[in-house]
């Protein structure tokens, strides 16, 4: 009998606690609700972008691989020596870096440097011969 009364008391207690808790939840202020909303949006954003890294890079890797195949087929002369392979790899590395676009914009400047260096070398050779 006492046990049953205790259980009923526990149940009534839990009910009252739940009611008070729900009231406090319902009365949360606007700022807190707004911050919760922002947190939720951040979590959902994670759902959109939270794929493994290799999945994110897969399209770019596919395009790069296709470009390699295209270049090899176009030239009809697959690279055979290590130096050429290394050069091709470094060329792609350069092309894939973010700076490559800036380099293309300054192409005229780089051409000028190359010409200037050639001119210097020619001058040095003439000096030595002379």
């Amino acid at each position: 009998m006492k046990e049953r009364k205790d259980m009923a008391g526990d149940s009534a207690f839990a009910e009252k606690a739940k009611q008070l808790f729900d009231e406090s939840v319902e009365g949360l202020d606007g700022e807190t609700r707004s911050r919760l909303n922002k947190g939720r949006q951040a979590a959902l954003e994670e759902l959109k972008t939270g794929k493994p890294v290799w999945v994110q890079w897969a399209p770019a890797a596919g395009v790069a691989a296709a470009a390699v195949v295209a270049v090899v087929l176009w030239t009809g002369n697959p690279p055979t020596d290590v130096v050429t392979l290394e050069a091709s790899a470094s060329d792609f590395e350069i092309l894939l870096t973010e700076d490559s676009l800036e380099m293309l914009e300054d192409l005229e400047f780089y051409s000028w440097i190359e010409l200037a260096e050639d001119a210097d070398e020619t001058q040095e050779t003439e000096d030595i011969v002379g």
Binding site: G9, D10, A12, F13, A14, K16, A17, K18, L20, F21, E23, S24, V25, E26, G27, L28, D29, T32, R33, R35, L36, G39, R40, A42, A43, L44, E46, L47, K48, G50
Partner: protein, 202 residues
Amino acid sequence: MNACVASFAVSCESKDRTGVRTLQREQELNRFLAEVEKRALRIAEISVRDRDEALDLVQDAMIKLARKYADRSSDEWTPLFYRILQNGVRDWHRRQVVRNRVMVWFGRSGNEDNDYDAVAAAPDPKGRTPDEQLQSQEAMQSLEIAVGDLPGRQKEAFMLRTFEGLDVAGTAAAMGCSEGSVKTHYSRAVHSLRETLGEHWQ
């Protein structure tokens, strides 16, 4: 050629279906989080006694759920979410212990800035007379303090069962223990709270 076109069409259709599924999943997760976030915040707030910290913990739990368990069945989300949140709360308490030790080392009390005021933090319930409002606030304040003083596992069991309304199995999954342990922790918590708060509270 026709085979290529057909294969492209199938690929596009498959992408569309995947996109629709992702969108549906996102909407489902949004609904779940919107439904659970306010109660989760109050539960975390009672545990750490600081709203800003509780907001951070809830946001971390939401992000972890989205990142790791979005593909799981939505039925599993509630216990998983609360498991992540409870782990976050436990980690927070561990960090506080270390922080307090460091503060003591430097001759300061780690609780100096712990000026939590449950009455001030308690929101205003709507549609009640000021007297009723005050009574509710006082009752909730007493309950929060009493629940906050419970041992960790009893606190978790009580809040998940009573405030979140999880059943024994769900609470066990969220707490990472057996159903028997949940029953024991919950029963002890209720008896302890009733004793602390006294007959007049009920």
